[in-house]
Subunit: 303 residues, 2 copies
């Protein structure tokens, strides 16, 4: 049985784990996100130390916050691109791992990796296309389409789509430094906190915040559905886990589509169509393990 | 050399052609879209008659207006689904062809087929993902992703995404019978005609209509870019061919993205990124020929 190392690189922490797949994560650690040098140094140290204990790894997977360059043919492959996070713009995060390990290393966005893990083992098992959207500190989306994770000019940046913002019902101007009132600017956790003056998780279930939030997320999901025709949408992230939100989103997506898509999965079973992660909060780190598996397989195929 | 028949089924006419591929369309005819029985009867007659002259066809391709069921495993595969077009909702359009010909028959939406033709022979040669958007009597989008046309729960319905509609600058309520002021409701040819009281093609180049139209299309393209990360967007259809429109769209997409996607194809070369069809008005019928080629290849592989 092969042994994989997975890294879920996020804006506040890096989660590292070792295991053979879902149900077999043997060791896990959390490293604060400070500078690329310090954080990645600790990541490397963790895996080197664990290899002494558990034996050699067969591959690594790195599921990282973006925007990043995921195209293997590109000169900037493996780098973080523009990010407001001090010290991380232009950081060659994959290169740091490559210089320490001679293993196959899979690399992709955190949300693409989560989409892969949910398709292999979670709530979207056997579906294609699949969208994984996280709504938390930021809003990001990944997708698996025709059997592979979605790349192109770059990778999906679904959190920044523009939606209908009615200033009469919601005069809040939005907080995205690039687009002001794009989806992330209106509906991320920090946007909710700024609009209502308190953290999203402290807002009571009957607060009007949730109805507004559900409306924005529903608009975005409706647009993704009409663009990608996914067989399943998995909704992760801290904000999306508020229990009142998902039923409101279901209702609003139905109302926005207004019967246009006559498919039973939507018209009769929308609660099984837009769902919470089957892997709970582990979609990300298991996504990294899935990237490692794919990297090993690819490596074996091409060698 | 194999000989293919292609059918581009549209709301006002069906275009039928026979040839071996791009640059070799030997005969073409146009049949008005009336009832499924009459129109498809004439389509069948055309190909039967031409087979007497040109010899037997190896495969047929049918690129049809939608919404339709493109999933081969579905009970409704090959049928038109809900459509306001009298007589066509529920019509088994592929079945009519199957009952007349024992050939392999490829079947997909007109816009998916156009995306395929533009990728094989046109403006998007070698790109992946590719989006083909038509702006005319309706607005529809097709896509090729990871080497295959995009299907899922159904197929893309990009024309019906919701966009930001500022009622102060544009009090026109929209004309979509399902969504009122979705993209198609605000920006299709008939929407322009209703808003301005005259046909879009008669509006002079300096009319404010074009600036508004470019803004709506740019919003939609920006959302598709952030969702699908396409390597090329091909913009077809009658309305999109107005010469002033494309440069305005380029400028507005750049302004909406506001530097967020740091990729040269957008920041330096957007005029080569969002482009007119390389196959002109033949994207659709050549798409149908491409579907026929794919059907024959698939058939040969699986036999």
């Amino acid at each position: 049985m092969s042994l994989y190392g997975g890294i879920e690189g996020g804006g506040t922490k890096f989660v590292c784990a070792i295991g053979s797949g879902v149900g077999d994560l043997r060791v896990e650690t959390r490293i604060p996100t400070t500078t690329p040098r310090e954080t990645l140094g600790k990541v490397v140290d963790f895996f080197l130390k664990q290899e002494d204990i558990l034996g050699p790894l067969d591959a690594l997977g790195f599921a990282c916050f973006g925007p990043l360059d995921p195209n293997q043919a590109s000169a900037r492959f493996g780098q973080i691109l523009s990010t407001p996070k001090p010290g991380w713009a232009g950081a060659d995060v994959l290169g740091r791992l490559r210089s320490a390990f001679t293993l196959p290393i899979g690399f992709d966005t955190d949300v693409n990796a989560a989409a892969l893990a949910e398709t292999l083992w979670g709530a979207a098992k056997g579906c294609d296309p699949v969208i994984y959207l996280t709504v938390g500190t930021g809003i990001g989306g990944g997708a698996l389409v025709n059997g592979r994770l979605l790349h192109g000019l770059q990778h999906p940046e679904m959190g920044h789509i523009r939606i209908d913002h009615d200033l009469k019902t919601d005069p809040f101007p939005g907080i995205c430094p690039y687009h002001q009132d794009c989806l992330e600017g209106l509906a991320s956790g920090p946007a909710m906190e700024k609009r209502w003056g308190r953290k999203a998780e402290t807002l009571p279930p009957d607060h009007p915040a949730w109805n507004l939030e559900a409306g924005y997320i529903a608009q975005a999901l409706t647009n993704y559905i009409l663009t990608l025709s996914p067989e399943k949408i998995v909704l992760g992230g801290g904000v999306a886990q508020q229990s009142r939100l998902l039923p409101l989103i279901h209702q609003k997506v139905l109302s926005l589509l207004n019967g246009y898509l006559q498919v039973q999965q939507i018209t009769r079973n929308i609660q099984d169509y837009i769902v919470s992660p089957g892997l709970g909060s582990q979609s990300g780190v298991l996504g990294a393990i899935a990237l490692a598996q794919a990297a090993l397989k690819h490596d074996q195929l091409t060698v």
